[in-house]
Structures are given as C-alpha cells and as structure tokens.
Amino acid sequence: MKTRLHILSLPILAMIAISGCGSTKTDSGSKPDASTPSASSGTKTKIAFIPKSAGNPYFARLESGFKSSADQFGVEFTSQAPTTADATSQISVIKDQAQRGEEVIVLSPNSPDALNETLDQASAKGVVIITADADLTGNESHRSIGVLSCDFSTIGPEQVELLGALIGYEGEIAILSATSDAPNQNAWIEGMKKTLTDPKYSKMKLVEVVYGNDEPQKSTTETEALITKHPNLRGIIAPTSVGLAAAAQVLSQKELAPGAKNAKNGGLVLTGLGTPNELKKAVKAGTVAKFQLWDPADIGIVASYLGTQLRAKKLEAKVGTKFEIPGKGSFEIKDKNIVIAGKLVTFTKENIDQYDF
C-alpha cells in the first residue's frame, strides 16, 4: 500500500511544487510570498489589484501605473486576476487577497452588485476598497472611492473637434458605434450631437449613426454600407475599439483615406476611440491620422496614491476633498466619491510607439 501511495503522489507533488515556485509573484518586493511574513512589510502599504480578467493588455497597462509609482508612494504591489470574467469570479479572489494580509484592494468589478457582501466582509476586516476603471454603479457605498479613467462628458466634444480639425470643419460625417443600448456609447453620441450644434461646427453634417455591435464583421459591413450610401462622406467617428479597427481595415482596402489612391475630395477621415495596439498598423500606414483614448496607467497611479493615503488615514473619502499627487497634479473627490484620473490622450504616428496596450 505504501509503495502505491508514493508512486502516485510524487509526480503530483513535484508538479504542484514546480508550478508554485514559477508563478508566485510579488512585484515590488523581491522575496517570494512564502518567506515574506505579512508583518515584515514595514512602512510599505500592501496593495492588491484585481482586474476583470487575466491576460488583458488594457489591465496590464493599468497595472504599469501601480508599478511605476510603487517606490514613490511606498507601495508593495501585487495583482491577481479571476480565472473567468463572470459576475462572481472575483469573490474568491477578494477573500484570498484579504487573507493574504493586503491592506488595500483595488478592484475593477465584473458586476455592479454581486460583490457587495464580499466587499463588506473585507471592509469589516479593515481592508480599504477602491474601484478602478469600472464602478459599483448604484452600490457605491460598498467601496470608499471609485477611480475612473476620464471625464466622459469631454469625450463627445473632443472627438468632434479632433475630426473637425482634420476635415477643415466641413462636410458630411457619420458615427460608427457599438450597440444601440450601450449607455456609454449613447452618452458620447449625445455629447457629439450637442457639440455639432455649436456654430463652429455648423458646416459639419451628421448624416447617419450606425451600429457594428462591437463585432468586426458587422462593423465592416456597416462601414461599407456608409461609404456606398453617402458618396460625399468626409469623416467617420468610431468611439469603440472594435469598430475603429474594422473601419480602418475597410478604408485601407478601398484606399479611401486622405492621400490614398481612391481618395475623393480630400479623402475619408477616420477617427474615434481605440487602443493603440489595435490601431498601430493603421496609424503607421496613414489610414488613421489621429484617434484618442485615456491612458489606463493614470488610473493605476491615482488608485495607488489614494490607497496609501486612505490606509494611513491622511485623506478622508469625502466629496469635495482636494488632493495633490506629486508629479501628477491636483485632483478632487467628486459626487459619489468618484475621482477622475486623467484626460484623453491623442495618439498619432509620433507618439503611438510609447504605448503598449
């Protein structure tokens, strides 16, 4: 009997032990977890970040904000993604991180309400809860502060200005959105329509809003239909990564961008919101001159700073509180304890290589 147990247990023991050593990660501390008792972290604040899902470059960029500022703020940073992106998969991760002795949990929640009970239990243990990038909309009382990417009310005006400057504030334009029931998209489109009523943009005419459902195929078809239906179209705004990338593909194939072979009256200008990695090729080829997005690293930096301050009770999570982050500028805790971390970044041929997400 003994022999049998040995045969079977040894390889499994070895596997577990090997994989364990390989993946234990403590990003700012150099020692592996096993030899770091929670008390020895000294004056450093232990912050854990829980993204929505694993292996997502967007969250990797957000984490880079934590990592780059860890020494400056005195943070021992770690991160742990849930194995799936479903509504409850972050529950066990929150519990595990609290058990590890993390002092601050920064979370990009997968659900606005399924985590309420778990977050309250962690708070009761003294863990500071901060949401980042996404919020517990309607359940804000279950976290102390929500750090969001940028002021969404600026997106409509900024996007219209970006396109306007590229087409000389004149001509027919269209919008390629995600789905017709996406709240953010609709708020941004509303902002664009309102901006277009400004006399500055009076010669820009919005001819159609189409929806690509955030599917590459549907976005491609919708873009092609736009081009056929409106032969005088001068510009398209696609405030969604999938749509922008798909539309860029269409423009590139049909060679319709300014300066390309089939460009008519100055060419068709495409802009919108998207991640640099998805648009790198189009920007370098000249199909897309400029587009925008916020930099998720800003969220990481602000959340990290707030974590240290809230933990040390140097800052109160109260509406109206103003604070200064060295090297980042001044911030304010707004309605529902929301802090806006940054502004839209305009990506061009010149700066796009500095971003990897």
Partner: protein, 316 residues
C-alpha cells in the same frame, strides 16, 4: 474505500504544501468560508454522480440553478412569503431537472445534446426574465453562508448530509444498483428487468431537486440573482465528479470520492489564491489534476505493485 485513499492523501499533501507556501493559508475560518463559496457545486456533484454513473451527462445544471434562483427572487420581490418561495424554488429546480430526463428518455436522444440545449434554454429564460438587471433577495433570507453550526457553515453541513444520503442510496438501495447497471450496459439492464428510462428520469429529477436547493443557497449567499451567475459551473461540477473517481463513461460510482474531490479542489484553489498563483496557472493546475486523477484511476495498480515488490514478497 480503497479508491478514496488517493484524493484523501492529496488533501493532506495540498494542506502541507499550502502551509509552506503561505503563512496565511492554514486558517480554519478562511478555509471554511472559501469552501462555502463553492458548496453549491459540491452539492450538485452528488446528483451528477447518479447521472454520470447511469451513462449520461447533464450540462444544464448551472443554468438550472441560475434560472431557479432568478424566478424565486422575482417571486420574493413580488411579495411571496420567503418560506413558500424557497419551497417553490426547490420545486422549480426539480421540474427543470425532470424536464431534462423526460426529453432524453422520450426522444431517446443523447443526454449531451438535450442538456446542451436546455443549458442555453434555461440561461436564456433567466436573461429574458431579468434582462441585464439583478434582483435583490429580501434581507431576511440573506447570509446563510455566514451562519455556522458545530463549526461548519450551513451550506457545508447540507453538503455533508446530502453526500452521505447520496452515498447510501448509491451503495445500499436497489435504485443505486439500477443506476450502476444502466451505466454498465443499458441493454443488459433492460433485459434483466431494470426500468431503464425511469432510472434515468429519476436521476435527472433528483439532480434537479439538488439544483433547486443549491439555487436557494446561492440566492442567500449572494443576496441577489442575475442571469450571468455560475457561468461554466457545469464543468467545475463534472471535474469534481471525475476527480472523485466516478467513471465518466458510467457504471462506476463514488459519491464519497466526489465529496473528497470537492474538499481537495476547494483547498487547492485556496492555496493557489493565498500564494497568488496567476489565473493561468490556477486553471492549468486544475487541468493537470483532472488528467492526473483520470490516469491514476486507470492504472493497473495491482500489476505495478507486484512488479515493485521485492522478489521475496512476490506471489509465486
């Protein structure tokens, strides 16, 4: 019993490794609460044992649990007294399980196909019912997972009791031996007078009943219901059953093994959680465990033992 030595040993092993990897691991309250988070899966695994042993599969269990929780929450919000709604919830789960059994036996269709269909159907119905919204459960029924008795949380106690009853039914009753017979060879079973269709239907109904109980536990634990809960849980449940030593092709049950596998997997997840293994590693290790256990259950152990024994001890 012998088949349960390996998972039992692995539990000890994982605990020892966990203790070495993180000083925060061996904390009874933490381990208990972590296991409670997945108690519903262990519970459904008891029912799944009967289905798999009878040579079938049920991929709709997670969707059943979610739809049942959604309907029940809706009734509670509509003003139905909580005890009545809870009973009704268990009834709905039972009904959804029974429907699987009826469709499979009536159409003589592969259970895989039927339950893939009902998996989509039940979850679709939950989404149609609630849309993207959550329905909050009345505060009176919330928090069963934090109540303890004899040191264990109520969901874990329910799991222990259910697994014990399940093991008894499987090993000591005529129904249990029918399930094994149907899974071994359904034709032979039919000719020997086993009511095959009824056995299959009963297995699904039983699992539905357990899904109903699990749904009520989930509702109480989360304090709400929404359509996208417990995504992919059917595969976690099947993993528990197979790691526990029940043969995926049917004909060999091990309910207690499933209970041990549940403890093993819950413990393993906690170790990986406190030691901060990345999500990718966690999934890989669970996968390795699954394959390792399947292989271990197939090894010709007697032969290997005989070869390894010193010559003097070998049987002539």
């Amino acid at each position: 019993m012998r088949r349960n030595i390996l998972p039992g040993l692995l539990i000890v092993l994982v605990a020892v490794i966990g203790n070495r990897l993180s000083p925060n691991f061996l904390d009874f309250a933490y381990l208990r609460d972590s296991a409670t988070l997945v108690a519903e899966l262990g519970l459904i695994a008891v029912g799944m044992n009967f289905i798999i042993t009878s040579g079938n599969i049920d991929l709709s269990v997670g969707s059943n649990m979610v739809l049942t929780a959604c309907i029940t929450a809706k009734f509670m919000v509509g003003g139905m007294p909580a005890p009545l709604a809870l009973l009704l919830g268990v009834g709905i789960g039972t009904l959804l399980g029974w429907l699987n059994g009826v469709l499979i036996t009536y159409f003589r269709a592969p259970s895989f196909l039927i339950t893939v269909a009902t998996m989509a159907m039940y979850r679709g119905a939950a989404k149609a019912l609630l849309g993207p919204q959550s329905v909050k459960a009345p505060s009176g029924i919330v928090g069963i997972d934090t109540q303890t008795f004899a040191g264990l949380t109520i969901p874990l106690l329910i799991l222990l009791v259910t697994a014990s009853i399940g093991a008894f039914v499987m090993q000591k009753t005529i129904f249990g031996s029918w399930v094994v017979a149907v899974g071994s060879n359904s034709r032979t079973a039919l000719y020997s007078g086993v009511p095959v269709a009824r056995v299959v239907r009963t297995s699904y109904t039983l699992t539905g009943f357990i899904c109903g109980i699990a749904a009520m536990l989930m509702l109480s634990r989360l304090g709400l219901a929404r359509h996208d809960l417990a995504m992919g849980s059917e595969l976690d449940i099947i993993t528990i059953v197979v790691v526990g030593g029940t043969a995926i092709q049917g004909g060999a049950a091990n309910v207690i093994g499933s209970l041990l596998a549940f403890i093993l997997i819950a413990l393993l997840r906690s170790v990986m959680g406190v030691a901060n293994f990345t999500a990718e590693y966690q999934m890989t290790i669970i996968g390795i465990l699954l394959i390792g256990m399947v292989l271990a259950n197939r090894l010709p152990l007697k032969l290997i033992l005989q070869k390894l024994r010193p010559k003097s001890q070998r049987a002539p």
